[in-house]
């Protein structure tokens, strides 16, 4: 057995023992299961696989360390009452926040960060990575890295706008239906049922073909498709709130419906709505990427991760990972947002431990 394997196993077992000794249950479970996996891998694939595992563990701990220090940084810099919440946030949440912050910075400062323009042809098509183009070129010889940075701006920005619009419409109508009840509720409910009965991707394709593909239409169509889901959630949440005595007291005071919705109901419905916002954001994001992949989303030459995957898809058959980079960018953001959403759901559920 090589020295590497011996050192690796010794370290893993020692770390597991330490975790067990100090009663760090979670850390122990992670470490020891990794040790067991690496035993198996070592038997199956020899030292090479072991090295992969070592790299993976290293990455995991790098991410953990990053998340840990980022959380400390937030705790130190943010105002006190937010910092208090932040201190108890799990590492996954602060990792998610970190990734989101990086994406936002990339989106805002895209022209500064990207070495080349969005549609600028720099080298030959499918150029391999080198010093000028660190991730290589795409099918037209444009810089992959620059396009990914610009793609953050387009994909994330449009997804954010769309989700916001869907929430504005969906939650307002939902709260209104719950507050007014009666025929308003019935009409809204049936319209939403009809919208939800149609498969969303097919419906999006249909609508986009009718109204034509441009960014404004894209945002409006996807917002329309996603607002029924928000409507249902908002109505269900508000349904539990409107029966409360404080709402009755406000009604008896003679308050207008608008006041009831904005001041009495909305503050109590924010937590689940915010959590849903995070989740929906991922879906919208994926929907836009899917539409772009089908050619009906964001139009070339505008950089967009979904269409970038499609444009470079042929490279996969040659064993190149270039098309996977924008896909990874999508995956990373989705995971990051979900980490944060999980944390928010946990916060809004009011569980202490």
């Amino acid at each position: 057995m090589s020295t590497f394997a011996i050192v690796f196993y010794t370290l893993m077992i020692a770390a597991s023992c330490l975790a067990a000794y100090y009663h760090r249950r979670e850390a122990f479970m992670v470490l020891f299961s990794l040790t067991l996996i690496s035993f198996l891998m070592g038997l199956l694939g020899g030292e090479v696989w072991l090295r992969y595992i070592a790299v993976a563990i290293g990455l995991l701990y790098a991410c953990g360390g990053l998340a840990y220090s980022f959380r400390e940084f937030l705790v130190q810099t943010l105002p006190r009452d937010i910092a208090k919440v932040m201190r108890n946030a799990p590492l996954t949440a602060s990792f998610g926040l970190f990734v989101i912050v990086v994406y936002i910075v990339a989106a805002i400062f895209a022209p500064v960060i990207a070495p080349f323009g969005e549609a600028e042809v720099v080298g030959s098509s499918y150029a391999p990575p080198d010093d000028t183009m660190i991730l290589g070129g795409d099918q037209l010889g444009r810089d992959m890295f620059s396009r990914i940075i610009y793609g953050a701006r387009n994909t994330v920005g449009i997804a954010l706008l769309t989700t916001a619009l869907a929430f504005l419409v969906g939650s307002l109508v939902g709260l209104m239906a719950a507050t007014l009840g009666g025929w308003v509720d019935q009409v809204c409910g049936r319209v939403v049922d009809t919208l939800m009965a149609i498969p969303s991707l097919v419906f999006a394709l249909l609508l986009l073909t009718i109204v034509g593909t441009n960014v404004v239409n894209l945002i409006l169509v996807i917002a329309l498709l996603y607002s029924p889901v928000v409507f249902r959630l908002a109505r269900a949440v508000a349904g539990n709130i409107v029966v409360m005595d404080y709402i009755e007291a406000a009604r008896l005071r003679g308050e207008k419906t608008w006041y009831l919705i904005i001041s009495e109901i909305l503050p109590n419905a924010t937590a689940p709505l915010v959590a849903e916002f995070g989740l929906r954001f991922c879906f919208v994001f994926l929907a836009i990427s899917a539409l772009s992949f089908l050619g009906l989303g964001i139009q070339p030459p505008t950089a967009d991760w979904g269409s970038m995957v499609r444009e470079n898809a042929t490279l996969i058959s040659f064993g190149e990972i270039t098309p996977l980079i924008p896909a990874a960018a999508i995956a990373l953001l989705t995971v990051a947002v979900n980490f944060v959403v999980d944390w928010m759901l946990h916060l809004s559920s009011g569980l202490k431990e």
């Binding site: 005595d245 404080y246 007291a249 008896l252 202490k352």
Partner: protein, 553 residues
């Protein structure tokens, strides 16, 4: 007989120096500070105290159980020679249900609505391999018979929602008995019930505990109830024991000041005001009102008047239409017949058609302060909104008025203005509810069971506050309650309702003196008294089979 005496002497549950901690804000706080407790076989011990005294926590600890976020930090709990604090979970599981049983406050919430009563009854004996399903079912019917449930052979095959609250509570007691445990813990089993139902559950519980010589811990905050049930009483305050004595000597001469104050609560009584002059226009007058929810008729030809500065108590069991009458007055449920007059003027039936001023005149205080205050709003906003809404005050004027109101309800403005409801105690929340009603400067306030969710000491504080406000502001109250002790302390006039009709109405003094209407008499005689012989006397008088629901027919 000597056998039984020996059994009585042997110690069943021995708790020494029990300390329990709860977790809040990442820290452990002690909630029970070293309590000792001895319970002998066949003995019933009453644990009393206000909420937060740790009664339920101790009751659960007697099963070796703590709620989530709690832990037993010190002390020992010995059940029949077995140390519970150090026993493994499996051993405890063998004990629970089989030898120690628990009866919860709300039977409706504790039964699984998806299973029949008898299936839930047989679960424990079958699980513990004490009886087979068949034996246990037969036993369940026998227990139902002993607990005097109607149709004992058939009632077990109903679902929880198909039987009444009192029957459900008795079915739960039967379930606790299913394995013939040595110890049953009753956690406020009758608090959620009407007086007439309560009495039948009390009689049933006492009977069955006697018959099987079971030991019991009876947790309650109602002194009169504990006086009927317990052999010994232990008084708790904020996790400490105040005193312990057998029931009779405890009632006759309590030693500690705190115990005396508990005993004294029931003595608060306000002088009845003289009836209003004959010609005076009542603030609110309900004229021959009938109302229904869909096809179901809930009110029939109800009439009563409420005069300025007077309190009218509307009493009756749940389902008698008291709250519905209030909903008609506020306009939430437009009556099908009759009308509501305010100072002689007919009010529009629905609140939607009433003017701002008409809405202002009738305010409501709710039973559950938790749901009556918006949890996301600060106290200042909650009280300030009606002030701003009706009087249009802004900025410093608004703040000044809210401070005045907070002073009136005896909460320090600087301290409470910026809090949210979750940072207040139950009594303080109720006070904020009162302030919100006062903020509208009404002539008339409906108090819907305002004290029934509160401890007696706190409730008395609220009653005194309401009384003082009535003096200062000349308010008229409609007091909806099923607690006759409250009526006795605050009302001027009493309206007794039954099945949507007014059975009897009149000044308080007359109502509490015989002769009564039959139903009023039933209600009055069902209110537990502090005398430990009261229940026996009553049972003798009415006959064992003729109490509670049965007496109504």
């Amino acid at each position: 007989m000597s056998d039984q005496n020996d059994a009585r002497k042997s110690l069943l549950l021995k708790i020494r120096g029990l300390r329990i901690e709860g977790r809040a804000d990442e820290k452990w706080f002690e909630i029970v500070h070293g309590v000792d407790l001895d319970l002998h076989r066949g003995e019933v011990m009453g644990l009393i105290g206000e909420s937060g005294a740790g009664k339920s926590t101790i009751g659960l600890a007697a099963m070796g159980f703590t709620r989530d976020g709690c832990r037993i930090s010190a002390g020992s709990i010995e059940f029949d020679g077995m140390e519970l604090t150090s026993s493994p979970e499996e051993d405890l599981r063998m004990l629970r249900g089989a030898r120690i049983a628990y009866v919860a406050q709300s039977a409706a919430a504790s039964f699984n609505p998806a299973h029949k009563l008898i299936d839930q009854h047989t679960a424990a004996p079958v699980q513990h391999r004490i009886k087979t399903r068949k034996e246990s079912e037969a036993d369940a019917m026998e227990l139902y018979r002993r607990l005097r449930l109607p149709n004992p052979d058939e009632i077990g095959f109903r679902y929880p929602h198909q039987v009444s609250g009192g029957q459900l509570q008795r079915a739960m007691t039967a379930m606790a008995m299913s394995c013939r445990p040595d110890l049953i813990i009753f956690d406020e089993p009758t608090t959620a019930l009407d007086v007439t139902t309560q009495i039948e559950v009390l009689a049933a519980i006492r009977d069955i505990v006697d018959q099987f010589d079971t030991a019991a811990l009876y947790i309650t905050h109602d002194l009169a109830v504990v006086a009927q049930m317990a052999d010994r009483i232990k008084v708790l305050l904020k996790g400490d024991e105040v005193e312990e004595a057998d029931t009779r000597s405890m009632l006759a001469n309590p030693k500690e000041d705190y115990t005396k104050s508990l005993w004294a609560v029931r003595s608060f009584q306000r002088q009845q005001k003289p009836p209003a002059e004959a010609g005076e226009t009542p603030v609110i007058s309900v004229n021959g009102v009938s109302a229904s929810y869909g096809p179901v008729k809930v009110l029939e030809n109800v009439s009563f008047d409420i005069h300025r500065g007077r309190t009218v108590a509307v009493v009756g069991e749940s389902g008698s239409g008291k709250s519905t009458a209030a909903r008609c007055i506020t306009g939430l449920l437009p009556p099908t017949q009759g009308d509501i007059r305010h100072n002689g003027q007919v009010l529009p039936a629905s609140f939607r058609n009433r003017s701002k001023d008409q809405l202002r005149q009738a305010q409501m205080i709710y039973q559950m302060a938790d749901t009556a205050l918006n949890p996301k709003k600060r106290i200042g906003e909650i009280i300030g909104r009606p002030v701003a809404f009706y009087r249009g005050l802004r900025g410093a004027d608004l703040k000044k008025r809210v401070d005045e109101l907070l002073d009136q309800i005896e909460l320090e403005p600087s301290q409470y203005y910026h809090r949210v409801p979750s940072e207040l105690s139950g009594g303080q929340k109720q006070r904020v509810g009162i302030a919100r009603a006062l903020a509208a400067e009404p002539e008339f306030i409906i108090c819907d069971e305002v004290t029934s969710a509160l401890d007696q000491l706190v409730a008395e504080g609220i009653l005194k506050l309401l009384d003082r406000l009535q003096e200062d502001l000349n308010l008229a109250y409609m007091f909806i309650t099923h607690d006759l002790a409250t009526v006795r302390s605050i009302a001027d006039e009493v309206v007794v309702m039954k099945e949507g009709q007014v059975v009897e109405a009149g000044p308080k003094d007359e109502m509490f003196k015989p002769p009564h209407h039959e139903y009023t008499d039933l209600l009055l005689s069902s209110v537990p008294e502090m005398d430990p012989d009261w229940l026996d006397g009553l049972l003798e008088q009415r006959g064992v089979d003729n109490i509670g629901e049965a007496a109504r027919k």
